[in-house]
């Protein structure tokens, strides 16, 4: 399909602004750019059709099964979108007087109260815009805590090898070095390795629980104790909170701070990669270090924070995303939050059991909200890889699972159905998954050229990275 630029016709434009009602201002020509920015020239109908065509070449939760592991692609309720488009929220300037933004401040205060209850934490910042950004703010809190005690030798962050890549990358952004510890044979943190990794230089441990294999770290109290006894803090990567919300709380497991992916667990949409929200909650002893401002209990912005780490973003965070998450929690309520977690786990286990006859599954016994398939044997013996299965699933009208993560599983496929899939949807999807597997194994060639029905097939990523074309350079 053509690009916007290839549809541009010189001289075409939409009529958007009225004539200027005051004299134009002149500035010195030395300050001006050489020529107007070369943007496409289109009418509204061109744009309308262009984006409708792009829409047909994309896939959202509304299109079908989207079991992208670690991403919690649950249904995004429409009421949340409607509320986030109310002018009483969208037209509020971030710097208008607090007395004229009481509703916004109450949204933040309520969201903080509910999310602190769900996490078992005491205080919260909404400034971080995404999970990785929350990790950054969280590890900054840990760094500040050690510095405030005059303990400057704590410069190491421990990360299990099953962790998200953002964990070690975040630690490095905070000037820390990373100690990777390999998981035990059961896919959990190896306590002996953890014991030998901690010491006087330990700043903290970053952990996802349930972990990225969809396994609950049942020794979690021992894990947090080992780190605490060494003087370090424990960070909860909230990417997988959906499995356990209302069942067990990070605060009760011994974690000191946590980020939440409101765009995963709390049903705010992902927008094709953002905006998200990576709200960070912490225990009260870390509260003085939270980014400035915080919303005080009385619903006022508090800038008087001498020990703060500063700011990690303009203003107060992705407000409309937080608003959507609050709407979701209000809809679900106390009982609905727990029920959603339980059904997320039920759906994952049911789907896993349906697939277990065909696929090799890493999880032994029950999984949490997601499970991991390995195509290692098939790839080696039959030339059917995780990638082949993923691409064949596209032809069946499903979004593939996350593939090649976690890194510790060969040819991994990480499957997270979420609670908003019905039993029939799971039955149908599992039949389709098994069907794809069987036809791939009986005729590997058939999947090597999949997908056949998508607009493109297996673009040359290596070539694209070797000679990057990152913008349109044709004439228009």
């Amino acid at each position: 399909m053509k690009l916007l630029f290839e549809k541009s016709i010189s001289g075409r434009c939409a009529s958007i602004l009225p004539k200027c009602d005051v004299p134009m201002a002149a500035i010195d020509s030395s300050l001006k750019r050489g020529s107007a920015p070369h943007l496409p020239e289109l009418s509204e109908i061109d744009l309308s059709r262009h984006y409708s065509e792009l829409e047909r070449r994309a896939f959202g939760v509304n299109n079908g099964f989207y079991p992208l592991g670690s991403c919690t692609m649950k249904y995004n309720p429409r009421i949340n979108e409607e509320i986030a488009s109310l002018p009483g929220f969208t037209d509020i300037h971030p710097l208008q007087p607090e007395s004229t933004a009481k509703g916004c401040l109450e949204v933040l205060a309520l969201a903080e109260r509910y999310l602190c209850e769900i996490t078992g934490m005491d205080a919260m910042t909404f400034q971080p815009a995404a999970g990785a950004h929350g990790e950054l703010a969280g590890v900054m809190l840990i760094k500040k805590y050690h510095e405030a005690r005059g303990d400057y030798k704590r410069c190491k962050i421990i990360v299990p090898d099953s962790a998200h890549g953002t964990n070690p990358a975040t630690a490095v952004m905070c000037g820390m070095s990373v100690i990777n510890i390999s998981s035990g044979p059961d896919g959990r943190v190896d306590l002996e390795k953890l014991r030998s990794a901690v010491g006087g230089d330990t700043a903290g441990l970053m952990l996802t629980n349930p972990n990225t294999l969809g396994i609950f770290e049942k020794d979690i109290l021992e894990i947090t104790k080992i780190v605490h006894e060494s003087g370090g803090l424990v960070y909860y990567d909230g990417a997988n909170l959906n499995a356990v919300m209302g069942v067990v709380r990070p605060g009760d497991m011994g974690f000191d701070c946590v980020h939440l992916n409101l765009h995963k667990t709390f049903a705010t949409p992902h927008g094709g990669g953002g905006p998200g929200s990576g709200a960070v909650a912490c225990k009260s002893f870390l509260e003085p270090y939270l980014p400035s401002p915080i919303v005080s209990k009385g619903g006022k912005l508090n800038y008087s924070r001498p020990e703060t780490i500063g700011k990690v973003k303009m203003f107060y965070g992705n407000f409309l995303v937080i608003l959507k998450a609050l709407t979701y929690i209000m809809s679900l309520g106390s009982e609905g939050v727990v029920e959603s977690a339980k059904l997320a786990v039920l759906n994952a286990n049911y789907f896993m059991s349906r697939l277990s006859g065909a696929y090799s599954i890493i999880n032994k016994g029950l999984c949490m909200h997601e499970f991991v398939i390995t195509m290692g044997k098939e790839a080696k013996e039959s030339h059917v890889s995780a990638l082949d299965i993923a691409k064949a699933l596209i032809d069946k009208g499903s979004h593939p699972p996350t593939i090649y993560f976690p890194l510790i599983v060969a040819e991994a496929m990480m499957v997270e159905p979420t609670e908003t899939e019905s039993k029939e949807a799971l039955d149908q999807a599992s039949d389709m998954y098994i069907d794809v597997y069987k036809s791939a194994m009986s005729n590997p060639e058939s999947v090597h050229n999949a997908p056949a029905l998508a607009p493109v097939c297996r673009p040359d990523e290596v070539g694209a990275a070797r000679s990057p074309i990152l913008k349109y350079t044709g004439k228009w």
Binding site: L42, H133, E335, G336, N349, V456, A465, Y472
Partner: protein, 444 residues
Amino acid sequence: MGNYLPSTKAQQQEMLEAIGLSSLDGLYADIPQSIRLSRPLNIPGGKAELEVLRTMKSLANKNKTFGTIFRGAGAYRHYIPSIVKSVVSKEVFVTAYTPYQAEISQGLLQSIFEYQTMVCELTGMDVSNASVYDGATAAAEAVSMCRSNKRKKALVSATAHPDVIETIKAYCWAAGTDVELIPELGGATDLSALEALVDESVSCVYLQQPNYFGVIEGAENASKIAHEKGAKFIMGINPIAAAILKTPGECNADIAVGEGQPLGLPLSFGGPYLGFMASTNELMRKLPGRIVGEAKDRNGRRAFVLTLQAREQHIRREKAGSNVCSNQALCAMAASVYMSAMGPSGLCGAAGQSMAKAHYLAGGLEKIGHKRKHSGEFFHEFVTVAPYGEEKISQMLQMLEANGILGGLQLNGGVLWCCTEINTKEEMDFLVSLIKQFDEGGVA
């Protein structure tokens, strides 16, 4: 009450039986009883959709929406064409995830490629990424891009937005590197002070154009000074002003960043906004976050993919330059639709009108004794000095508020005003007449 769980109790039972369990609690056998929450969550019970709508509308009604706004300071109310809102509310774009699987995501990937192209056009730079969280994080990430073992200090102009400065400082503190402020002189960056500060230990110089006070900076000279000592030059720009002002490319900037909110995003109490980032080819592989590139598929067709992923955290882990993973894709799409709907003439029109109106208002305020504090040329924001103290300035702004006007931002004995194409001559004349009456003791 309200939930989004389609499976009925009977279906749940069937599913439990299929996996050999008798109750939902059995799913959590791995979680020790001692840490489980043994009580219900202390949050209110669920509500039906209609109740939730009522509750949230009542919260929205506790906010005051101003019909007339003369405040910017990092968040700008520009006109948003209807087509922008309609495109970015398409369900597919709203609910999709990051386009990892190219075949099923060509629509999103192409839209990001188009966005990158337009950001390059606007900034005059070689390459753009798919966006980051906002203008402040874009600036902080840009500073990180310039750091080397020998050069660890960043020089940041004191005339940049205070939140941008704070964010850069926090990122640099975390990384263990230094930030020094270049002092302000008469509302602009003191370039002779910059000359004295920049040396072989400086990694980069960050300058905002136009600056926090609305003044147009001598960016080309700052760039020259930075480059003479081997430091990189980062320009933080307002994307509407960019339609008129010399581009970062023309100023020889190494990196251009900025807050993309003026390009079709509502004020929304501060977010979600959009951080745009563009650089020279030389720095391409240091850009953080997602980047979309053109590729050929197996059948020779044009395709778009996430590219240069060897930079990124999910591949490089602790060796990645940044941890950025999510971007602001939907906001970037809003910016693309905005720029395409406005076109070159529309964007220049919005910029020219914003500037014209700010100059008209500055003239009106000057006539009643609220003179500009700075003498430099300005775009759509400017600071006035009130003929009275802080307390009375605050009363004056409250008087405007009572008249449904969000006035400028109170700033150290002055007021930072902003105009956009939305403000009419009538509104500005009314504003000036209200202040005149107030100053003469006519209204309080």
